[in-house]
């Protein structure tokens, strides 16, 4: 009964942004920098993440320019090594890992479960400050000369053989790691303790399930990379011999520790993106996700299996053949839940009523590119073919298909999907559809040739290469230019829409999530009345019933008003 109080179409008819919302409640820079509102913190993250993304993107541009010709002509090899290292460090630790969770997850988790805020609002703000401290330290490192270990910090290269800024970079990653741990912790506590009445585990949107799984990874895996990096710093500074074979250390140990985090980190990046895709596909086909339980549990399965596949990064490193066997098998198993998701999303479209707004176009892009990214992962998970393909451009293409083709597409799908909720205004539809198509084309031009380059044997992290690889590299660089345009367009029109976009209203997509059953932009406390969940997730019949009830109420209210006007006039 109280559920229908949260459904209101009032604003759509009057087409005004509600005066009181989380943006207007308080003013001034300090009100943002000291906020504990999860929505404002999400905005802080969105701005800072975008900033780091464009720095990382500019570095990618430099890499592609250098690789236009076989010789090293744009920059010296040392500079090239620093550029690709910083590209990796910034994109992985300061964009991909926090991207969806810190922005969309932060904004939406409390709203989707019907809470006022995250369980630990001040810790949430602390996360952002830690993230910024790490990010600025990484930028400082870049200014004072950069680092050239590769983002993987492989020992003993990083401990004994380079004389660049390993310590500050390590510290930057270390600090940012704590941001990630605290965010994950906050999400776990919130999802356990803050759900609205009636919001049972199996009524949660799949976005929440995905974030829950990713949060567990953040909390359990991130400390390991933090420890590994501290050990690198100690070995570099004090010469302790954990990794140094001359002192009885094990140089491979670092890689075990590093990948024990960095493989689950891939799922920290992709799972929240998968959550976005579930919401988008359900909304635009107006259907409950096909096999809700399977999709929910596949997220958990990915998180669990994700912990036991790290050594597939080391098949040719001289680990035991039998270890290779086990890790190869487990890698095959972790591929299955991803396949399940793809097919469940596809069948959600079956007998739907589909409209093709921008978020769905990005989601389609995600499905196509993630399928390719996932399948090529199997090429690398199969120990035999891995021998030939690992450490080549095949790897580079594979993880860019998953991370950029998958994750970034999902991020953009989510940003467009919830933009009306976040800002109260619509983005320009036609222009953004164009941007989605441009991104998709640019992406394929950039990264598909790299699969062929890798198969030919072109090693990754090469500043120069044999001339017969040039034509494919030229394709790749040309594609990167298109891709760059595809990423710049949204920045321009999204900023434009802040002022000139059409008023969105509460629920422009007619979506079922609780976040849509309140005003846009939301109140600081999210809901005027505490919502009660009295229906399943993705229940479009409930939404329709609610709206009919609402309209009826409006009509009655209207009529009563008229009556009173008439009587008062008479």
């Amino acid at each position: 009964m109280s559920a229908h109080t949260i459904v209101s179409l009032l604003d759509q008819s009057t087409a005004k942004i509600p005066k009181d919302n989380y943006i207007t409640r308080e003013n001034g820079l300090l009100s943002w920098l000291l906020t504990s509102d999860h929505k404002r913190i999400a905005i802080l993250y969105l701005i800072s993440l975008s900033f780091f993304f464009f720095i990382g993107g500019a570095l990618a541009g430099l890499i592609r320019l250098e690789l236009l010709t076989p010789q090293t002509d744009l920059m010296a090899t040392d500079t090239y090594n620093k550029v690709f290292t910083m590209h990796g460090v910034i994109m992985v630790f300061f964009f991909l890992v926090p991207s969806v969770p810190a922005t969309l997850g932060n904004f939406l988790i409390p709203m989707m479960i019907g809470a006022k805020d995250l369980a630990l609002p001040k810790v949430n703000l602390l996360s952002w400050y830690l993230y910024m401290a790490g990010g600025l330290l990484a930028l400082y490192t870049m200014m004072v000369g950069g680092v050239d270990t590769g983002w993987t910090f492989t020992t003993p290269l990083s401990t004994h053989y380079v004389n660049t800024n390993v310590l500050t970079t390590g510290l930057a990653v270390f600090v940012a790691g704590f941001s990630s741990i605290l965010t994950g912790l906050n999400f776990i506590v919130t999802i356990h303790k803050m759900r609205a009445p009636g919001m049972t585990w199996f009524r949660l949107p799949l976005f929440i399930w995905a974030h829950y799984a990713a949060s567990i990874l953040m909390v359990l895996a991130t400390p390991v990379v933090a420890i590994a990096i501290v050990l690198v710093m100690l070995e570099r500074t004090f010469g302790i011999g954990v990794f140094d074979p001359a002192k009885g250390g094990d140089p491979l140990l670092f890689q075990h520790l590093f990948w024990f985090y960095s493989h689950p980190a891939v799922y920290i990046m992709i799972l929240p993106g998968m959550g976005v895709i579930s919401e988008v596909i359900s909304t635009f086909s107006r259907k409950r996700i096909f096999g809700y339980t399977a999709v929910a549990f596949s997220s958990v399965a990915i998180a669990v299996f994700g912990f036991f596949v790290w050594a597939h990064h080391m098949f040719i490193m001289g680990i035991s053949n039998y270890a290779v066997l086990v890790f190869s098998l487990l890698t095959m198993l972790v591929a299955v839940p991803s396949a399940i998701k793809i097919f469940n999303w596809t069948f959600t479209l079956y007998k739907g009523s589909i409209t093709f707004e921008t978020p769905l176009l990005y989601a389609f892009g995600f499905m196509g590119l993630f399928t390719i990214g996932g399948m090529t992962g199997v090429f690398l998970g199969s120990s035999g073919t891995d021998i030939h393909l690992t450490e080549t451009y095949f790897i580079v293409a594979h993880f860019h298909f998953v991370m950029v083709g998958g994750m970034l597409m999902a991020f953009l799908a989510g940003i467009h999907f919830w933009w009306p909720k976040i800002t109260g205004r619509m983005y320009p539809e036609k222009l953004s559809q164009l941007a989605a198509v441009v991104t998709f084309i640019g992406f394929n031009f950039t990264f598909f040739p790299q699969f062929i380059l890798g198969t030919l044997g072109m090693p990754r992290r090469y500043a120069s290469y044999p001339p017969e690889f040039q034509i494919l590299n030229v394709f790749s660089t040309a594609g990167a230019t298109i891709l760059g345009v595809g990423y710049l367009l949204p920045v321009l029109y999204l900023v434009w829409s802040l002022k000139y976009g059409a008023i969105a209203g509460n629920n422009p997509w007619q979506a079922t999530g609780l976040e849509w059953q309140t005003q846009s932009p939301p109140l600081t406390e999210n809901f005027a009345v505490m919502p009660i969940m009295d229906h399943e997730a993705y229940d479009y019949a409930w939404l329709e019933g609610q709206q009919q009830k609402d309209e009826q109420q409006h009509r009655q209210l209207h009529e009563r008003q008229k009556e009173t006007e008439v009587t008062s006039a008479g």
Binding site: H160, M317, M367, G384
Partner: protein
């Protein structure tokens, strides 16, 4: 094509003649690996086609204009089981197939010819058993199994020959092996594929595959005068190893004849096969690898012998049990002055003369 700009034309010709889509298959394992590769490409294409076809046809059939009201479907256990079990089955096939190839690549046949490779920033040093040295090049014959034993002197490197479809990490402080049998003569790329610092992209070279005759000629023309085992023997003498490692009844160290490949009992308990890795460790960190019945008195040679030196010593020890006979042993008096004092062997225990294990 007269209407085309000659510059563009030349550019195109240059590119197209240089253009490659698939690497040459020049080893025995290459076609086997490519068969799996193409099987995976095929499965991926079929999978992708299914997804794209379904998404496209659902998009056409069930767009809002054509299908204004969605029909809610909870799911289907049968369908979901299908798309769980079929991918799982295919992945398992790929796993088994891949594992079979993996084990083949890393299990050398017994009669393989062994070549040592040392990686260092930023070059590959190749040591043939006959004493031939190469830098950033590897000459091998067709039709003969060749095993590479790799080690790095500094950071991780990776020895990659795309045309052979083999690649192996060269690790500091540890031997790794890989083998191949070249099938097609020609010159192929040799890459370092593990990022190893500033000049990583210049740590490249050529793998030259020759017919057995040409290879024999090459061996003769590139000889350095003494074999790898002879180099090892010289080092063995100059380090005065035979002072302890000899066959005298009061010898302080175990005799090294027939030691290679044998099972040794260690004083710390347990047994070990005396392979390359064990011998290397026993030279560099002897205190941890004492053979049963001997006192831990051997000094460490860590930092005193280069990786090439260790390889030469191992090659020498390896050949003690075979037909190798000491042809000519250099007397310690032949050594440059002063080098004797540097050896860690105890003074007064030096046995000059032939090493007769």
């Amino acid at each position: 094509m007269s209407h085309m700009s000659p510059v563009i034309w030349q550019f195109l010709v240059k590119w197209m003649t240089n253009f490659a889509l698939f690497p040459p298959e020049a080893s025995k394992i290459a076609p086997q690996m490519d068969a799996l590769y193409f099987f995976m490409v095929l499965v991926s294409l079929i999978g992708l086609t299914i997804v794209v076809l379904l998404v496209t046809s659902f998009s056409i059939l069930y767009n809002k204009k054509r299908h204004p009201v969605a029909v809610q479907i909870e799911g289907s256990t049968l369908l979901e089981a299908t798309w769980t079990i079929i991918p799982l089955g295919l992945f398992l096939v790929m796993f088994v197939w891949g594992a079979l190839i993996y084990f083949r690549v890393f299990t050398p046949p017994a009669n393989a010819m062994n070549i040592y490779v040392v990686g260092k920033q930023w070059m590959w040093k190749v040591e043939h058993p006959g004493g031939q040295h190469e830098i950033n090049a590897l000459h091998v014959p067709t039709g003969r199994a060749v095993q590479l034993t790799l080690i790095s002197q500094d950071v991780f490197h990776s020895f990659s020959i795309p045309a052979f479809r083999v690649k192996r990490e060269a690790i500091p402080g540890r031997y790794t092996t890989v083998w191949f049998e070249a099938t097609k003569t020609g010159t192929y790329h040799l890459f370092c594929t593990q990022y190893c610092g500033t000049n990583h992209s210049q740590m490249i070279g050529d793998v030259v595959v020759m017919t057995p005759e040409e290879y024999r000629k090459w061996l003769i023309s590139s000889t350095s005068g003494s074999s790898l085992a002879q180099n090892g023997e010289r080092l063995f003498a100059s380090l005065s190893c035979a002072a302890c490692h000899n066959t005298r009844p009061d010898a302080r160290g175990p005799s090294l004849a027939n030691v290679y490949g044998s099972k040794l009992a260690l004083s710390a308990g347990g047994t070990v096969i005396a392979d390359d890795a064990y011998l290397r460790e026993a030279i560099l960190n002897p205190s941890q690898h004492i053979t049963q019945g001997y006192a831990p008195i051997m000094p460490t040679y860590q930092g005193q012998i280069s990786e090439e030196g260790v390889i030469a010593l191992i090659e020498y020890i390896k050949n003690l049990d075979s037909d190798y006979r000491v042809q000519q042993t250099l007397n310690t008096t032949d050594l440059p002055p002063g080098s004797e004092g540097k050896t860690p062997a105890a003074k007064g225990q030096v046995s000059k003369g032939t090493v007769k294990p």
